[in-house]
């Protein structure tokens, strides 16, 4: 069968850089064409920053890996000009069921709040995710945007100098060298760049293995997330069943620590396990099987001079909570506008240190959440197992215990409440749109607010005048006047009657006031592009 992850999507082609006597110099080189590297490149190229992506492969992710994508990353994909493809193909789900031993202990509904363009979650195979990003790369190329994708180009060394890095690349032909003003390392969990520059990766490796199987079956399980603690078909361990498009189902079976990975991966061992779970009479075909040992750790810093780390290269979490790719997209969302302003000399280089500050905060939050889920799912002591089982037993009969059940806390958008880029706040306005938070979507006439923001600075003016356009320090700020509705009151006004919000190019709130004041806006803008940071 021809699977998209077996098909070369960006096969090797010789580039004239390979014939230069002197290494060609590029503005930005992205290492790795996984979901994060591709998103970074699209973000920069659509703002006309030239970018070259290299990958040692020429295909999308082998097998599915990430399947669950949250609302905030979908909004980021909208800003990257390609959200529809993902949402149209993905399956939307709201219901989760939790089973303990032989019985269902409860059911929850993630019913999203009304008045958002995008659903709380979609499930979509990672290979589609990457394929749609590559489609977007091709679309940008057709528009003449400066983006190149070089397959079978493997980074073999990297050296840093004062104002650039030198990269040595292996190809199916002879190796060649490139120079880059900036490098974004999105080369995944085993990041060769990370080890080449000798940076640490700190945190916990959990002593556990998971069998991840994607099976194709014609079964009438509903589009729900089913999670089992200690089920009869996988005693003492956990299991997960989740639907993807095309009749593909994700099955996760916890295996424990002391196993022989190669043995467990063999179909003759996998199939009986799946039959025990699904029942003997369900017909299925294995699409992809993998054994996964996860880790919760991050680099101590995501920036080293001219090299910026993003995605799995910078941090890793357990898969419970779907925080890997979801948080990686928030990395590049945070990084790319800053890098663009620095490249264009509109912001000081120090602005890039706030990528480190803001996204380390994001990584810590994700690591904390996923470590806690892991501790619940895999109790580390007899007492923690006793409490875990007590919670599950109580959850069946009493409501109060249900919020304590932790089968993965699904990814929510990261807020940078204590970022040094944040300007003034108004306490009587809603907490959820405080400076540092991502803007919350809402209907604006026939449009969605989230579609009107991003890629540059905006002012949102609600029930109060502001100039239509403003020029501060060579940056254009555009004003959106939005009408007051119940949603706008709830999400932006709170106890005030009118508001002015300054929104960053990544759609995060920089500052807010009740009235427009030019000098205040100027000050907050300078602050949000790193001009007030101490050395």
């Amino acid at each position: 069968m021809d699977k998209i992850f077996e098909r070369p999507l960006y096969p090797y082609e010789r580039h004239h850089d390979q014939d230069c006597a002197q290494p060609a110099r590029h503005t930005v080189v992205v290492i790795g064409a996984g979901p994060i590297g591709l998103a970074a490149a699209i973000d920069l190229a659509q703002s006309d920053i030239p970018v070259v992506v290299i990958d040692d492969n020429d295909k999308v992710s082998w097998g599915s890996r990430a399947i669950c994508f949250a609302k905030r990353p979908l909004e980021i994909l909208d800003r990257l000009g390609c959200g529809d493809a993902f949402v149209n193909k993905g399956v939307t789900w709201n219901t989760g069921k939790v089973f303990f031993d032989e019985r269902q202990v409860f059911e929850f509904n993630l019913l999203a709040e009304d008045g958002h363009k995008r659903p709380a979650f979609i499930n979509l195979q990672q290979y589609y995710f990457e394929e749609y990003l590559i489609d977007r790369v091709r679309e940008l190329q057709a528009q003449g945007k400066p983006i190149q994708l070089r397959g079978c180009n493997k980074l073999i060394s990297i050296d840093q100098h004062k104002d650039h890095a030198t990269i040595e690349i292996e190809t199916p032909e002879e190796p060649y060298t490139l120079e880059a003003d900036w490098v974004i390392a999105c080369d995944g969990a085993t990041s060769p760049v990370r080890s080449m520059v000798g940076l640490d990766f700190v945190g916990r490796v959990f002593e556990d293995n998971f069998l991840i199987a994607d099976v194709i079956m014609d079964a009438d399980f509903p589009t729900e997330r089913w999670f089992w603690f200690d089920p009869p078909f996988n005693r003492g361990q956990s299991a997960l069943l989740h639907k993807q498009p095309d009749g593909v189902w994700r099955i996760d079976l916890q295996l424990g620590w002391d196993i022989d990975k190669e043995q467990e991966k063999k179909p003759e061992n996998v199939i009986p396990r799946l039959k025990a779970m699904l029942g003997d009479d369900v017909e299925f075909e294995l699409e992809w099987v993998s054994i996964y040992t996860f880790q919760c750790r991050r680099m101590e810093t995501f920036r080293k001079g001219r090299i910026l780390f993003a995605g799995d290269a910078a941090h890793q979490v357990s898969p419970f909570g779907a925080r890997g790719a979801n948080s990686g997209l928030q990395d590049t969302d945070n990084l790319c506008w800053k890098l663009k302003l620095v490249i264009e000399n509109k912001a000081p280089e120090k602005l890039l240190d706030t990528y480190d500050i803001e996204r380390i905060h994001g990584a810590n939050e994700n690591i904390l959440n996923s470590s806690r889920s892991t501790d619940f799912i895999t109790p580390k002591s007899q007492t923690s197992r006793i409490f875990r089982d007590a919670v599950l037993n109580l959850a069946e009969t009493t409501q109060f215990a249900r919020p304590l059940v932790n089968s993965g806390r699904l990814s929510v958008p990261c807020t940078y409440h204590s970022s040094p880029l944040n300007g003034p706040d108004v306490a009587s306005m809603p907490r959820r749109t405080k400076p540092g938070s991502p803007a919350i979507d809402t209907r604006v006439g026939q449009q969605w607010l989230i579609d009107l923001l991003g890629n540059k600075f905006h002012i949102i003016a609600i029930n109060t005048p502001a100039p239509a356009e403003l020029e501060v320090d060579n940056l254009t700020i555009e004003t959106l006047q939005i009408p007051v509705t119940d949603e706008v009151t709830q999400r932006y006004l709170g106890d005030t009657k009118n508001a002015i919000y300054l929104i960053r190019p990544d759609q995060h709130v920089a500052a807010r006031w009740e009235h427009f004041d030019q000098s205040q806006i100027e000050k907050a803008l300078r602050q949000s592009i790193g001009k007030m940071l101490n050395d």
């Binding site: 006793i386 409490f387 089982d389 007590a390 037993n393 109580l394 009493t398 109060f400 215990a401």
Partner: protein
């Protein structure tokens, strides 16, 4: 702000104590441990206030170390 009540607060202490032990009669150690865990969770939820709960944790912890000394 409420603090943890450490003054006697239970009516008929001997009756309460007997009732608590009765719960565990005919249970083996594992069953008793499980029951205690459920009980802690139920009572903790009733209290709700994290500060009060933390005061309770502290007292429970200290009582244990002084036993060992």
């Amino acid at each position: 702000m409420t603090n943890l009540n450490t003054k006697p607060n239970i009516n008929n202490p001997d009756g309460f104590y007997a009732e608590l032990l009765e719960l565990h009669e005919h249970l083996d150690k594992d069953q008793s441990d499980a029951l205690n865990a459920r009980l802690i969770l139920i009572l903790a939820n009733h209290i709700g206030d994290r500060k009060v709960l933390r005061q309770a944790f502290k007292i429970a912890q200290l009582a244990n170390t002084s036993n060992k000394e």
